[in-house]
Structure formats: C-alpha cells, structure tokens
Symmetry: C2
C-alpha cells in the first residue's frame, strides 16, 4: 500500500510532518522551498502536495492554508519516515538518575517514571502498573486478631500479597485458624480457580466441621484477589501539559481528554496491545472517539517474561514522536532491567553518543 509513494513524495511528506510537528502551523509549498532541502519550485511541490492530499496523507484546514498531516499521514511517518532521536546527555542523565533510585518497589519506580516522562517530553504521561493477570494464590496465612476477626493474607506468586480482614460470626481462636490455614493451603493454594467446583468446596467444608461457614467468604476474597482487573493501577502525570498545545484549547478536545482520564477502564483498554516494542496509537485508530486529534505512545515493561506495567505519553497527534519513542523505550527497558534479578547495572537499549539538538 505504501509503495505507491515515490521517494520524492515521501521526502516531501516527511518534511511537512517534521515542520508541522515543530511549530504547529500548516505548512505551505513556499515554506518547503525556502527550507533549502528541495531544489524544486513551489509549484512543483504544490502539485505533489495536491497528490498527497488526494491519496489521503494530507489535508487542508481551509483553502488558503498550508497542509497538515492526516492520521494516515502520521501513520506513514512513524512507520517509515521518522528518524531515530538520540537522547541528549542531559536527558539521559535525567532518566538515569531516576532509574538509579531503584530502592523502592516497582510500583513506585513506575509511578516516578511517569513524572519524569512528563517533564522530559512535555506531554502528559501515563504510568500503568499491572500485576500479571490470572494469578493463583500460592499460599495462605491467617493471623488472629480477636475472637471475631482475623486477617487473611494471600500470597500470589512470589512477588505480591493481598490482605483482607475477615469478620466471623462464629468465634475463632488460634487453633481454629491454624486448621483453616492448613485446609486452605491444601485445597486451594496453587490451584486454578476453575478447579474449585462445588463438590470440591463441600469436601473442604467437611474437614472444618463447625467452621465450614468460614470457607465461602474466604473463597469470595480469593476470587476478588485473583480477579485480573483488581490489581491494575494507573497514574497520570503532567495533565497541565495539555494546555501547552493549542489543539486542546479549543472545542471540546480538552474535555474529552480529561473525561477519558477519569474513566480509567477506557484508558486501560488502550494499553491492551500485543506488540512488545513501542506502540503508537494515532487518533481514532483504536476506535476511541475521545482520542481524535491525540496520540498515545507507550511501551510495556516486561520483567522476566511478565508484563508488570507500561509507561507512555499522550498528547496531540502533532507530537514529537521520535523523541518520545526514544525516551519511552529507554525508560521502559531501564525499569525492566533494574528489576531483573541479579542485574544491578542498566543496559541501555541503544548506545547514544551524539545528542540531537532539537
């Protein structure tokens, strides 16, 4: 589909997108000839631009304005035309200093990554933290509080734990809790939830005699704890950056965005993507109406084969994709390797030696 574009058309498209990303004004044929990168007259470029528009890569806000890229134009740009951006020394320093403070939990690191991203790119950043879906509880532990209350601790995998306070109508004591704990560890720990059939549960209840009534509320908690959506968490940073881009100042765009930021479920869906490298969603490509005019760039954070979260930025379609992509890739990989067991040192994904001045 793309090969219908001659090299010259591609060069012109690239120049237009680059220029438009940089200053936000529709770019006309004259501006391109003045930029000295083409030895063509404005008329020739005009013809090419007219064809690019007919092909759907460009559009005109109105008759007497220059051209701006369409969603298709941006798509082609990020897929085929965009150049790699090498992070500057200062930018690398900023990212690294964040990554080195890896003392804390991965949650905090991801959260901080959002703040850093927002600052570095000057777009709104989204940091997603998600525990791997479809857990099983690997171990139970019950802690006595008083006759009617105890704490249920569920260890999921080796890296996360959830607690619930359980109130009982039957009085309990340490001994009962030990027994219950043992039953849970024998019957439920490590099992997939689908194996918890009714007869199976009844078997457990038999083991507990008078305390059989405790099982069903606990199982409810287990379901809740294991439920995939339960453990997703999403932080948005630098919302005020949106205001720096005129595309959000008019019409209802800003409202759309802020509304979407409130409906986190909808946001999560945007992050459901197969790819493992940086994903770029331009405008309504994913079918989300509120994304019209905006783009989302993100990358999953994968530690030891498990997706533990993602980090991304959201901003106008007219976004500095090449810089954003570089920053996100660096940060996402950096977080991942900071948490890879054993690896203390970061391994930057690319060797940036010559910083771009942008």
């Amino acid at each position: 589909m793309y090969n219908e574009l001659s090299p010259r058309k591609q060069a012109i498209l690239k120049a237009i997108v680059d220029a438009y990303i940089e200053n936000g004004d529709p770019v006309g044929s004259k501006a391109l000839t003045q930029s000295k990168q083409f030895v063509l007259s404005s008329a020739t470029i005009r013809n090419e631009m007219a064809e690019l528009e007919a092909l759907g890569y460009l559009e005109q806000p109105h008759t007497s304005a220059g051209r701006i890229p369409t969603e298709l134009g941006y798509r082609f740009y990020v897929d085929a035309l965009m150049q790699d951006y090498a992070l500057s020394q200062g930018e690398l320093a900023e990212l690294n200093s964040m990554l080195k403070a890896k003392s804390a939990e991965i949650d905090k690191l991801i959260h901080n990554a959002g703040k850093v991203m927002a600052n570095l790119t000057n777009y709104t950043a989204i940091a997603v933290k998600q525990s791997p879906g479809r857990n099983t509880v690997t171990r139970f532990s019950l802690t006595y509080i008083d006759e009617r209350n105890f704490l249920l601790v569920m260890v999921c995998g080796k890296r996360s734990a959830k607690t619930r306070f359980v109130h009982t109508d039957v009085p309990v004591n340490e001994e009962v809790l030990r027994m219950l704990e043992q039953v849970l560890n024998n019957f439920v720990a490590g099992k997939d939830l689908s194996t918890l059939t009714l007869p199976y549960l009844m078997q457990m209840e038999q083991c507990l005699g008078n305390y059989a009534g405790l099982i069903s509320p606990i199982i409810k908690f287990v379901y809740e704890a294991v439920d995939k959506d339960e453990e997703r968490d999403l932080h948005i940073d630098g919302v005020d950056k949106l205001l720096e881009y005129p595309e959000f100042m008019e019409s209802g765009k800003l409202k759309d965005m802020l509304g979407m930021f409130d409906r986190k479920d909808e946001l999560f869906e945007l992050f459901d993507e197969e790819g493992d490298d940086v994903t770029i969603c331009i405008g309504r490509e994913k079918g989300v109406e509120a994304m019209a005019g905006s783009s989302l760039v993100f990358k999953k954070i994968v530690v030891g084969g498990k997706t533990v979260g993602a980090v991304g930025v959201i901003g106008p379609c007219r976004m500095d994709y090449s810089k954003v992509v570089s920053a996100i890739r660096y940060l996402s990989d950096g977080i991942a390797s900071a948490f890879l067991p054993g690896s203390g040192q970061l391994t930057p994904p690319s060797a940036p030696d010559e910083p771009n001045k942008h």
Copy 2:
C-alpha cells in the same frame, strides 16, 4: 467585625452572592430591584452596594459592570448568610445507593464517594484516604515463601495491614520464622517506636542468635509502615467539570488547578484542618496562590474517633456552597456510620423532608 453590617446590607449581600452563584454574571442594582425581594429603588441599592464595596465585600470587574463578591464577601456569606440546602429525594437516593454498597473496604467506599460527589455537585471532587498517623504495629505475622524469602505482615490497629516481602541472606525455615515472629510480637508489637532504643534492639538480637541480622531490615519496614505520610492516598474525580465554569477557561487558572492536582503533597496540606465539621477554604485564604479564584469544601471522615479520610469538592469561588455543604456532610457522615462497627443502618445527619428546588 461582621456586626458593622446592617441587616439590610446583609440582605443585599446575600442576594448578590446568591444571584452571582446562580448565573455567574456580575449583578447590578437593577437586577436586584427586579427580583422583587426589595422594595427599594435601584438608586438606594446602588448606594448600599457602593458601601459594601468600600467595606471590602464586593468588587467591580470594571466600571460599568455589576458587582461580584470578594473572598471576604463569600466568607461572610458562608459564615452568616447561607441557607441550608435540603437534598432532594433523587439526590438522597443517589447518595444512599452508594453508601449501601458498603461491601468493600473503606478505601473503595471513599474512592466511590468521590465519583458520586463529582456527579452530584458538578464540581471536581477529591477523596482523601489516610490511615491514622503514628500507628503502632499491633501484630506481626511471617509467612514462609522459600529459603531466602518470606512475607512480613504487619497489622496496624484492627483495621489495616501492610505487607512486605523480605529477602534474607541467611536461609530460613518455618521454625525460624515462628521464632522471629514471636520475638517481634513480644518486643515490638504494640510499642511506640520511640521505645525501640538501641539497647532494646540488641536485646532482641540476642534472642535470635544466628538470625539477629534479620531484625534491622524488618525494623526499617516497621518504620516505613508506621510513617505517617506513607499511607495517604488521594483520588480526584470529575476534573473535566472545571471546564464548565468560565472562570477556568481564561487566563492560567486551569493550568494552576491541573498543576496543583499533580502535586498531591500540596493538596494534602489543604486538608490539614482542625475542625470536625465541613471546612470551607475560599480562594487564597490558606495562603495557596494556586487557589486564587477557587474554593475547596471538605469534611473529614471520622470513624470511632479516628480520621480515616476526607471527601470534598473543589470549584470556582462562585460555588453553590449550600448544596455542596449538605452533600458533603451527608456523605462524610454516611461513610463514617457505615463503618462504625455494629451500626448497619445509616443515620442521616439531618432529616431532609422537603427538597429544595434549585
């Protein structure tokens, strides 16, 4: 200070604030006479308004506009003039249906309260969840995971628990953990942290022999868990509601707000208030520059003498205080009584029988 205002001035001030809150246009003398609540000519009212302005309760955007309240004007209004708003049946139903879904943790309830508040009042809502400061850990529980890892569970009070994964250099087993657990429960549980002096810690370490090295990282976690700031959490809902008020559309107000929403620390400070009833912060009263033109109304949620959070709304100074106050009071008290042990039924703070049409 306030008694310098004659009853008539108060009535006029009230009428002005009411009218301005309702439609956002500066209110002139003519509008007041037309409202039929005064049997005075516009000239008389003009004189009164001029005096109210001289006293600092009103101001004029420009010479040929009506008057709008100053921060002092709003202050007087909320302190002395504002009428109680009786929530309508529909509004009560909305609030109650939220409160009845009390299955979940108090965290979730508070979070939901924010969403409901935002919808009901049409202002941005803030839901604060804070565990009572300066906890002690009341009980420890250790769960074996593998030779080098175990889970540390710290129960604080009877209502909250925190977990930490601990990695050890010394191999451990169930037995060791039991011993360690006992030591922690004997020496640390229920103690104020200030009693954990160095000699005291050394005494503990003696009890543990080879495993003395485990104590210090655990104590570090205890400090973290007990640290006051650790457990504050804040959710903002309905940010897009800001856009419905023209005061945020111009100048940098919106940016100020969004910026403040990002700096949660600053927000938390606004919620540090002594009072137990609804608190109203008008504009820069609390010394926060970003609050210029905006007001915050909130109320702590107090369960059994402990502050567990707060719920509030933030919006333009021109806010429907009376409705907001009623809603917040109802919700805050509702959450509190939903979580008061034993009390299944809600006890509404006031008996609303005749809904206001507003």
